[in-house]
Amino acid sequence: MPTAIEAHELSKKYQLGEMQAAYGTLRESLSHAASRLAGREHRAGGKQEIWALRDVSFQVPEGQVLGVIGRNGAGKSTLLKVLTRITTPTSGRVEIRGRVGSLLEVGTGFHPELTGRENIYLNGSILGMKRREIDQRFDAMVEFSGVERFIDTPVKRYSSGMYVRLAFSVAAHLEPEIMLVDEVLSVGDAEFQRRCLGRMEELGSAGRTVLFVSHALSAIAQLCDRALQIDGGTVVQDGAPAEVIANYLHQTHSAGVERVWPSEDAAPGDDLAKVMAVRVLPHEGMPPGIMDVRRPIGIEIVFRVLRRGKPVFPKIKVLDRESTVAFNAMDTDERWHEPTPPGEYAATAWIPGNLLNEGAVSGEVAICSLDFPKLEHHAAVYEAVSFEVLDPGEGDSARGAFGGQWKGVVRPLLEWTVEPDPISR
């Protein structure tokens, strides 16, 4: 299979001072010059270089959908800027076979004084279309945008919705061989992002080469054939999306999957109960802390009851990334109805598979007793554990084959019943 994109030891260097002096005015540049004259050594020391990309090499075969992930500032956007030729590399080279499109450029160069018709031609040329191609697709673009009636009206009189539809329509008819999508940069409403994702999915399934930069890991897992992780300007991982994502999450994951207290004195709790350890039971075949959304997740609480006093029982509280409480749960089994005998217990709470949504999840644990009508906490550990729920994108989870944004604290896999349609019966 021929190669669509071939990057060879691509590097891009930025000078830090450059960014600050970016927007000069007369006064600034004069004071700048003055300070330069006054303290030359200042300037020599202040020139810092940043390698946004360093020796990045990879190949993308034609028709592959490649996802690029990485932290903010890892170099993802710089890579895309180099590939779209908005900026030039400092060294290295890239060979690109085929026309490149990026949804970054939607509406680029639209001129408010020109009519819709004129802007289609202008924008089309800017995106690299030949006049003939625009002629051929003109009717389709107009129809798709739904602004037929206003096609000869200056776009400054358009509503913003019409404007965006017309702009998107031109970009959507570009039909590039290679599509570069930066979800991070494509600001815009959710509607727009959804369209971008949809467009990308279609191009991907039509056999076009797609390079997709995103923070939406589930979308990457779902849509991509392969994933790259960039960190500090270099490619640190290259492989199957699920694997790359799992490793990436593991690196970025800060809070622990396990907390153990070495002694009773150090352990949290009162004179009745102490929490000795909390851990998230690992999923087989996944790195610690990365949980398959479809499988039950076990949170084990090891606690000691120091004396026979009250009936105590373990409780967990599960929170999502925004610290929204997903749910509280406690063990209501009969075994905790009598005053609990002293000793060490290991209780595991099983969160069902297909319940929590993807993303970072944290858990709080507590050992409680019921002091009607209140719940008395004998031992409590806030942010005891955290883990990342990942959808490997195999199509059998609650999101099915959908790769876009999936909102909600929980995302249960529901059972659906459908009455037979009376007409077809």
């Binding site: 005015t25 540049s29 590939l83 080279r93 690109i96 004084e113």
Partner: protein, 301 residues
């Protein structure tokens, strides 16, 4: 707006893509490599993007007089008004010399004002071209040289619209060109274009970082007509000063253009050569500065 309108057309499979000409980018292998800093023009790439150039020029031309009451009439009014003021002040009051051949002063002045007006518009437009197309520069690729280049083509339209006024004056004062030398007239306009493109490259690149250019250019343009012989014939001033003014390419442009279209005094060949030399040098220097700062445009603009 019905929801169904928001669906995206299914991309056509590869095979059904309409056939395109051989130089279409679809089949092009693009190699991205570090920017070359030496002052090259990359004509083959400019040629490849000729449609975009035409489209950008067309945009600027069609937007130029939008939402003005007098519209394209401004292209005539501005030089006519300027020339009229010069004729009254310098011709009537100050009795400026009309040159060796004593060409009718109004013809002489308008023949100077038109190229100067072109130069002024082209310089302003091209110097601002990168900054005013910020959105394009930061979002899509095309040769950046296209922007200053387009901006020196746009005011040619005004120049051509103003020509009938000059022709009318030539008819009125009977200052017709002397045969074949009129064919050289475009060459002098070309010299103006090359010079202003060089300055456009230079200033547009500088303007990316320092927006001082915006304030500098009007001052420059106020002085320039005085140093280019717009309101006098350059051969009428002391020879020593003629050679000083020769370093301004616009002096050569205006003297040559007057000679070609009005049959005014033949320009001094040596002085013209100096003007051409300076014009070419400005072009190369401007392009060199443009190329050396080009890699940073998108990052610093």
């Amino acid at each position: 707006m019905s929801q169904s309108k928001l669906e995206i057309p299914a991309p056509a499979p590869h095979s059904s893509r309409p056939a395109t000409d051989s130089d279409d980018r679809v089949d092009r292998l693009v190699v991205i490599r570090p920017a070359r800093r030496w002052p090259h023009l990359d004509v083959s790439e400019l040629w490849h993007f000729r449609e975009l150039l035409a489209r950008l020029v067309w945009r600027d031309v069609s937007v130029r007089y939008k939402q003005t009451f007098l519209g394209v009439a401004w292209a005539i009014l501005v030089p006519v008004f300027t020339a009229a003021v010069y004729v009254v002040i310098f011709g009537k009051f100050a009795q400026f010399p009309a040159g060796e051949k004593n060409t009718a002063y109004p013809s002489l002045v308008l023949a100077g004002v038109l190229p100067m007006q072109y130069f002024a518009s082209a310089l302003t437009g091209s110097s601002m071209s990168l900054a005013s197309n910020l959105q394009l520069v930061t979002k899509v690729y095309f040769p950046r040289t296209l922007l200053p280049l387009g901006s020196v083509i746009v005011p040619l339209v005004d120049f051509i619209v103003g020509l009938p006024v000059l022709i009318a004056l030539m008819w009125h004062y009977d200052t017709w060109p002397n045969g074949a030398q009129v064919l050289l007239a475009p060459v002098f306009i070309l010299l103006a274009m090359v010079t202003v493109l060089g300055l456009g490259f230079l200033f547009s690149a500088v303007n990316v970082r320092y927006r001082d250019v915006r304030y500098m250019i009007p001052v420059f343009l106020q002085v320039l007509p005085l140093l280019s012989g717009v309101m006098y014939a350059v051969e009428a001033i002391p020879t020593k000063w003629q050679w000083v003014l020769a370093f301004n390419p616009m002096t050569a442009v205006i003297a040559g253009w007057r000679w070609a279209v009005l049959d005014a005094a033949t320009p001094n060949l040596g002085q013209t050569a100096v003007g051409v030399g300076v014009g070419l040098m400005l072009f190369v220097v401007g392009l060199a500065v443009f190329r050396s700062s080009e890699p940073r445009f998108a990052d610093t603009i």
